[in-house]
Amino acid sequence: MRTEASLLETERLSIGYRLKGGRESLVARTLSLELKRGELVCLLGPNGVGKSTLIRTLAGLDEPLSGRIDLDGQDVRSLSPRQRARMVSVVLTENVAVGMLSAYALVALGRHPHTRWTGNLLAEDRERIEWALRAVGAEDLADRQVGELSDGERQKVMIARALAQDASVLLLDEPTAFVDLPRRVELMRILSDLAHRDGIAVLLSSHDLELALRCADKLWLMGAGGAIQVGSPEGLALNGQIAAVFASDSLDWDSEQGNFRLYREAKFSARVFGEGEAALWTRRALSRIGFGFSEADGPSLEVRIIRNEGKTSWRVRAGDRARDCSSLDALIEWVQRNLDRK
């Protein structure tokens, strides 16, 4: 389905480090990947698998060990650093010391590959800087000192700097790493807008599986050994690839919920009667304190969720003891107290 030429394409790319004495430390080999216009791609994988190395290699900060990278159909080795910088921009994971700069001045640095040797900003440059600030919703930060911004605000400004570079490929290494959840969602929305509205090819590495599953057009799933599976988030979830890459002894992929579950051996079994949110969180609470929900063995605990005049209450029964609880906290407390007695 090649409706559009790839903005970035790799052919048998091997990444890693060159060590002393000509030896190589290979991170991943023979990667053939492509990024298309208007695509938001999430690079997912456990820690230390080589996501940063891949991003840095694609950005031109590390040399590939072998293979080739094409930007817009041209081999990067035939491009000058300046030409390359006009095609790929990057937001790195390192928390940079930005100096005493206004957000505007920081974003203006992105115009580096476009301005002449004096670095003077022309009207066209200023337009692009203002567009970049607007695109990430940071126009009112323009006059603030970067050192005074919150982590989320600074990350927006760093993305705006990359956008000001006017490249059609935007690479981000863990852009949401130091940011709280609402800000993370906001950043993902901004990135997805940039891809879909402005036609930029966006590749970001992330730890945040749930968010990536919801936002990405495509996943690059990097497993141990550096092999990369490419596909839609839903497809990779359905065929069990995500579970294979991430699952471990203590983490269980829940394919119905589309997320991971902390795996705990169930000591007791329970049955929850009821629907909706209340039932979901009741099950979660019970599983946290050691209950499983298998139908096989007779349940040692029964919880019935009762809705009465808009109020929710829990009727809980364990053997011959029973109790009505008016809150989930009260239920948890009762269950724990009665479990201890056993």
Binding site: P81, V98, M100, L106, D143, Q165
Partner: protein, 347 residues
């Protein structure tokens, strides 16, 4: 919009430097009025010929030297602080001053007692021999470090410079240990720094070299800005890191090395002046900081030299003691006003 806020500081600083030059020339063991000063400069017949000759032969070259050296050290310090991303980097982080001191120590403490005198054999004045020795020593250290600059990252370079300084320092102190007191005194005198030894014929070399060095920083402004985000970002914006690093470090060390060669190792100025500019303009952009550093560096050097001359007193002070006295409070004030330097350098 941002520029307008800053613009009035430049005329103020310019006038300040001008006033500092006038004060530096007028005040000293002999006081010279503004009328006499103007008279001496235009060659008026009414002016006392003694005072006229003091102005022309001694005071004017001294003030000019101070202004140029201050500007050079300040710009050099600014570039080093940016490239090394370290608020305490000074023009001498790569060890050019230790190279210069080794050169001078070899001439004064090793060759002279052995009966080798550059003064006689090369027909140089004693002062010029020191200048050559110091500049040569600085250049040698610089050459070694720039060779490394291609291969290691900036942090390693910083440590390498430090280690080379320590190594050379120990050689110098060995030379001092085995030297006679009068030789040592000459060496100490050099190490205090001095703007007053410059003659017009030396200025004919010094001024153009510093001028060219300062002009050479103009095309580096854009590169220096790119370095504000660190080398990785600079690289991602199309900067050839190795070349840029060589150009910036080369230029900065050249300025510092030449000043050290002619005036001795002058401390503190190169750290303090850029901080003062950041504090004044509240920015790290080099198109503002660089010209500001030229003016502030020149101004501080002129004032420090004026204090060192101790007008009205029967004595004078070592220049380096004064630059430290002037420089340290500037750094402290800048620090307190900015709350912390991490804001200026992130981190």
């Amino acid at each position: 919009m941002v520029e307008r806020k800053y613009s009035y500081w430049f005329p103020v600083l310019g006038l300040g430097v001008l006033a500092a030059i006038v004060a530096n020339v007028s005040l000293g063991s002999v006081w010279i009025s503004v009328n006499e000063l103007v008279g001496a400069l235009v060659g008026s017949e009414d002016t006392d010929p003694v005072k006229s000759s003091i102005v022309i032969e001694f005071r004017a070259p001294r003030a000019l030297t101070a202004a140029l050296a201050g500007a050079a050290l300040s710009v050099s310090g600014l570039m080093m602080q940016t490239v090394f991303r370290n608020p305490l980097a000074d023009p001498f982080v790569l060890g050019v001053n230790s190279g210069a001191s080794l050169g001078v120590a070899v001439v004064l403490l090793l060759l002279a007692p052995m009966g080798v005198s550059l003064t006689q054999e090369l027909g140089l004045s004693g002062q010029m021999a020191m200048v050559l020795a110091a500049t040569g020593g600085a250049a040698a250290v610089l050459a070694v470090l720039l060779l490394f600059a291609r291969r290691v990252d900036v942090m390693s370079l910083l440590i390498l410079g430090l280690m080379i300084s320590y190594g050379i320092g120990s050689i110098v102190s060995l030379l001092m240990f085995y030297s006679m007191a009068d030789r040592l005194q000459a060496f100490f005198f050099w190490s205090y720094g001095n703007f007053g030894n410059m003659t017009w014929s030396q200025l004919k070399v010094f001024a153009p070299v510093i001028g060219v060095g300062l002009l050479a920083t103009v095309p580096l402004i854009k590169l220096l800005d790119a370095f504000l985000l660190g080398e990785h970002y600079a690289q991602s914006m199309g900067v050839d890191i190795t070349k840029a690093r060589l150009a910036i470090l080369g230029c900065a060390s050249l300025l510092a090395g030449v000043v050290t060669g002619f005036c001795g190792p002058i401390g503190f100025l190169g750290i303090a002046a850029p901080h003062f500019c950041r504090f004044l303009f509240r920015t790290s952009e080099h198109r503002i900081l660089l010209p500001a550093s030229v003016l502030v560096g020149a101004g501080i050097a002129l004032l420090a030299d004026l204090v060192a001359k101790a007008p009205g007193l029967e004595t004078s002070f070592p220049l380096n003691a004064i630059t430290a006295l002037v420089g340290a409070p500037v750094i402290i004030v800048a620090l307190l006003r900015q709350r912390n330097l991490r804001k200026a350098f992130g981190g």
